[in-house]
Symmetry: C2
Subunit: 410 residues, 2 copies
């Protein structure tokens, strides 16, 4: 079975839509939140629990898996899905973000929520930049052991073919809001040239993959905060065809200012073809999810739900709170009232509080299950609301309650 | 439902037997290995996974739960079983071992395998002794924050009644093989007096527990390496009756030299009544399990299978190996050939190797599931072999293969 996308419904008058992405490992109903398993594991959570919490797909990272254990080992294991025993659809990020951000003190200049960074991606500020971009690719230093490595569009494709995810991404250059307009123009043009090389290499590798399922390749749209660059980049990738190979979908990448998220996604959606899916990289906050869906994004990923869970931060319909503070010590209620997740149906806040205080592994596991369920369910509900013509009403109700409670400190 | 024990079979000519312990939370077929969940969690493993790996009961620790979260909170939560969502039988250790060993540099003089210590029990050597024993009880310093606390037999019973496990232990004094013979004599006598106080307090607390299930109280036999003291202690506890209350079973405690383990357990079994169960505290090595079963022990607990799992040490029928070494990097076999555990039926050594290298939480979870399954299954097989009259043959076969492989470095 190959890759396809069907649009099943529209948000009247706007770019938002519902759909189904078909992959060799199963279908994804969109809009959908894709959980992040950077190193071929969603930290602390077994695949069965991911399935039970409603996760439709998992996104791992080419950079991290290239360094450890090595893409060849994942390949020999039968690919990412087999290696990690997650038998649903998988994505891999190209590594472009990580090779540029790791070791560069990037965090401070990245306006996009740093929740999009895996723990391993957050390096102490002030380190000298360890990545260098040239026309051919990026030379960088491993954050693990200081070894020098080089990624090019071709290398990224080769690695992602070895990893074998259902959806892979073109290798792009990540810029920041601090770069000059001139640099952004050059970068968008370079990313376009790299995209063409990715298509060519993907085609070559696909023709050698006899017997293995087809991997869909998504081009990544950059252009920072500039409307003309975003539109130019999107159109360019949408039209790009190399030896009959086109992109199967698109990644919406780069530095996005939160307040303009919907607007910028909207520019890209207008230029991109209706019949190919759009994945917005690195968001999970409720207001961002509504804005992105409205503007035409189909799928999302983010490490944030699990990362904050490991620090005891719990998402609920009434806002976020920290279960490690004293007020949860004697609370024999679930983490979130009415939640259907495994954690909430089996444990109390008092137990989670105890596990965090005792520094027990299960604290991370149980909190992550809840936060991932919260986020997956929210996007599922957005999808249902959109399909039922209730998107705006649901948005107002959900965000009103969520942020009112957060503001009042509940 | 109350507590009872039935002997269902005997090892011909020796003290070993099979049986069933009935508790308010279910039955335990003996011999049985009881998994340790020191702080009301088996580190990294969900209760469903414990049940799936065949665990019949979980043992938690009164000392640790008294300090964090506090026994009152576990009580309010509905007891240990409810708090941790493990709905099978539970045990709590009395805390006697921990109040004496924590902070005392005890490790270096304890001949008994230190695998019997939870991670939190192993303190850097050379610290000044932080526990002081007098006739009434033990004053000690919390290893968490330096607060002073006092355990007496009555306090231990009160804590264990709040925790609400099905099987609880009398508060005893732990000595070491380094203590003088004279001190061991005094200690055995003191532990006997404490046992009587435990029975009285247990009776009082039980009479106040209307509506709650009965908790069985086990007396703990000490006496170090001295045959006369061990026999005297066992007889004393077996005969002890306070206001009509007797011990429901016995803990076999204290410092046991590995080479004399079977002999010492045998002395106690000869003195203890046939119709009450015997729990040997803190063993899990295969040769020790066979020796203990042969000598009449019914149940065992030990943190070792999970503790070494978190350091990547994997038990197999062919001995123990470390999955973190390079030879597992490309091994696409299960941790143990033919093993029926969740980890072995879903993952390869290469994946576990990767998780350990990447310092992923799931490494501990998956390795622990395997090692606990290995130990539970071994004791289950010993039970089946004993029932079938094949104990000696199974022991020879199992230990021959296990230790031959270990010696050859496999």
């Amino acid at each position: 079975m190959s890759f396809s996308f069907e649009v099943t419904g529209h948000l009247e008058g706007r770019a938002g839509r519902t759909g189904v992405i078909h992959t060799p490992h199963g279908a994804i109903e969109t809009p959908a939140f894709i959980v992040v398993g950077t190193k071929a594991t969603v930290k602390g959570v077994l695949p069965e629990a991911l399935r039970e919490l409603g996760a439709q797909a998992v996104l791992a990272n080419a950079y991290h898996l290239y360094l450890q254990p090595g893409a060849d080992i994942v390949d020999e294991a039968g690919g990412l899905s087999e290696f990690m025993a997650w038998h649903g659809p998988t994505f891999t990020d190209s590594g472009g973000f990580q090779v540029m951000s790791l070791g560069s003190g990037f965090k401070k200049v990245l306006a996009m929520d740093t929740a999009g960074l895996a723990d391993d991606d957050v390096i102490a500020e002030g380190k000298s930049r360890m990545a260098h971009v040239d026309e051919d690719g990026v030379t960088f230093t491993s954050h693990l052991n200081g070894d020098r490595h080089r990624f090019t569009p071709e290398v990224s494709m080769q690695i992602q073919h070895q990893l074998g995810a259902d959806v892979i991404f073109a290798f792009d250059e990540l810029t920041t809001l601090m770069n000059t307009r001139r640099y952004q123009e050059e970068s968008v043009e370079r990313t376009h040239r790299w995209a063409a090389r990715c298509l060519a290499e993907h085609r070559r590798l696909t023709s050698e993959r006899s017997g293995k399922p087809y991997q869909a390749l998504f081009g990544v749209v950059q252009g920072a905060q500039y409307e003309d660059l975003r539109r130019q980049a999107a159109r360019g990738l949408a039209d790009l065809e190399v030896d009959g190979q086109r992109f199967d979908g698109f990644g919406l990448g780069g530095a996005l200012e939160k307040q303009n998220l919907g607007t910028i996604v909207g520019w890209m959606s207008e230029e991109l073809p209706e019949d190919r899916p759009r994945h917005l990289l690195g968001i999970s906050e409720p207001d961002d999810l509504f804005a992105a869906v409205e503007a035409g994004a189909d799928t999302f990923d983010c490490v944030n739900p699990s990362r904050v869970a490991r620090n005891a931060a719990i998402y609920t319909a009434d806002g976020r709170y920290n279960v490690n503070t004293a007020r949860s010590r004697r609370s024999f209620e679930p983490l979130e009232d009415g939640c259907d997740c495994y954690t909430c149906t089996h444990y109390t806040r008092a137990y989670l509080h105890h596990l965090f205080k005792a520094k027990e592994i299960l604290a991370s596991t149980l909190a992550t299950i809840h936060n991932e369920r919260f986020t997956v369910r929210l996007v599922d509900n957005i999808r249902h609301a959109l399909a039922a013509g209730q998107f705006d009403a649901y948005r107002e109700e959900f965000l009103g309650r969520f942020y009112a409670a957060s503001r009042s400190g509940t």
